[in-house]
Symmetry: C2
Subunit: 259 residues, 2 copies
DNA sequence: AACTGTGAAGTGTTTCACAGCG
DNA sequence: CGCTGTGAAACACTTCACAGTT
């Protein structure tokens, strides 16, 4: 979705897998903790444990960055912190605007981990004129009217949307028009953005629903009899291939989830 | 990747892929919106657009649930809402506790999408005695001492951790000991949980770092010359250089990690 | 001896493309 | 004809297992 293809001309294409990129911050956090304890080196096994992954995956991930370890020894903590930071672009300053200073926006503004990496809250923006000027986390809230000006003046390229769902797309459009090219969306809506703009979303309700799915599986083993309400409309259709062939061609090995 | 093999006797093995499960809430939201507009049926193409995925993926996803569409026509909205809700376990009531009622916890307690699905905030818990009794989102905050009692009395199986990082593991241990088997973690820490307990994490700082990575790519195409500080220690090593496919569409990386 | 780096195999996910049904 | 449902191909990611290095 969002990102669309980026048909890069393959400038020597480093090509770090997306899954690896998503784990780099995890490694970085673990490494930072080690660094604070002045641990000089760490093995893939130890670091993997601290980051909650397995060591093969970690080594594979690092192999995309380069050969930064020493066989028989492990990885130099400081050096790796630097390399990962650089890879993630955290050696530079990223001004960020947060739009929508309700409960959540305020929480985000106060969030420490925010500033701790290269991120700097450049501005807090809210549509409520009554909020204008009020300081949140030490930063005065500004009115939406200022949005374009702020973004241009500060060279903001990352925006955080913490507005109600109804306002999100509109805010998004304005952010993008003003030059923002990466958006972190907390509103429960699918955002439409032009090619070249990245959107990541964080959705509490979705996370809970996924947990509920697994939770349900744990509880009800056999009893398929569901206690909920009855299907609303339409005739009930049969439930997919009942006992028959269907999936596992050869060695069964049923998928992740059992039933 | 959930719980590796789950031994289970393969009761007709439904086996819905994790990636599909993660998208069901998205479909459900889009369908709910259609339902509110009294749209009777929808094609895979339309629904996919509303959910921000492509139609082939959507059809494949639905095929894991069963044959719920009508060829030449599309899907019955109400019927599909029900089927997905049931699959996700939302036709039942899920009491949830939120631990850590700071800025973020309060935001979560107030979050509407919470209650809108089967989730019910059974209790708000905080370690600060000064907060005890204070109502947040209409619910009085209770002290951590009550944690075990609340969970057992209300049969809570899902816990949300919104405490500072330092307290998270301890809270997690208590939640698990009291009977919680699914945890949504907002604290920037890796939680250790016993086998059978699901943890999903939401980490603002990680999301931003991933955006920064892509942002950096957009900006500096060729100029590998980084303006940041110089590497701290150790000799620089060469850069690997895999030549190959690069980046693809955004794909969300699921994060269930059992243990 | 200890540990990294990585091909190769295994597993999961997406996309294609079209048969099949209403 | 239109649209779903799905094998098969393509792609992505993870894990294995061991060669290679210090």
């Amino acid at each position: 979705m969002a990102t669309g293809r980026t048909h890069r001309p393959a400038t020597r294409s480093r090509g770090i897998p997306e899954a690896t990129v998503a784990r780099l911050p995890l490694y970085l956090r673990a490494l930072t903790a080690l660094s604070e304890r002045s641990v000089p080196t760490v093995s893939s096994e130890e670091l993997a444990a601290a980051a909650g992954v397995n060591s093969a995956k970690l080594r594979k991930d690092f192999s995309y960055l380069g050969s930064y370890g020493t066989r028989g020894v492990g990885y130099d903590v400081e050096y790796l912190v630097y390399q990962i930071s650089r890879e993630l672009g955290l050696t530079q300053d990223w001004p960020v605007v947060i739009v929508g200073i309700g409960n959540l926006g305020a929480a985000l503004a106060n969030y420490g981990g925010f500033a701790s990496r290269g991120f700097r809250v450049a501005a807090l923006i809210d549509a409520d004129p009554g909020m204008a000027g009020k300081p949140v986390a030490g930063i005065p809230v500004q009115h939406t009217d200022e949005l374009e000006k702020i973004i241009q003046d500060d060279g903001v390229s990352i925006g955080v949307i913490a507005t109600p769902a109804g306002a999100a797309q509109q805010v998004c459009d304005r952010l993008v028009a003003a030059g923002v090219t990466s958006i972190l969306n907390f509103a429960p809506t699918v955002l439409n953005v032009p090619e070249g703009v990245d959107v990541r979303k964080v959705d509490l309700s979705i996370e809970l629903q996924i947990l509920a799915f697994h939770e349900q599986r744990k509880a009800g083993e056999e009893a398929a009899g569901d206690a909920g309400v009855a299907p609303p409309v339409a005739a009930r259709k049969q439930q997919h291939a009942t006992g028959s062939a269907e999936q596992g061609p050869d060695g069964d090995v049923p998928a992740v989830m059992p039933a």
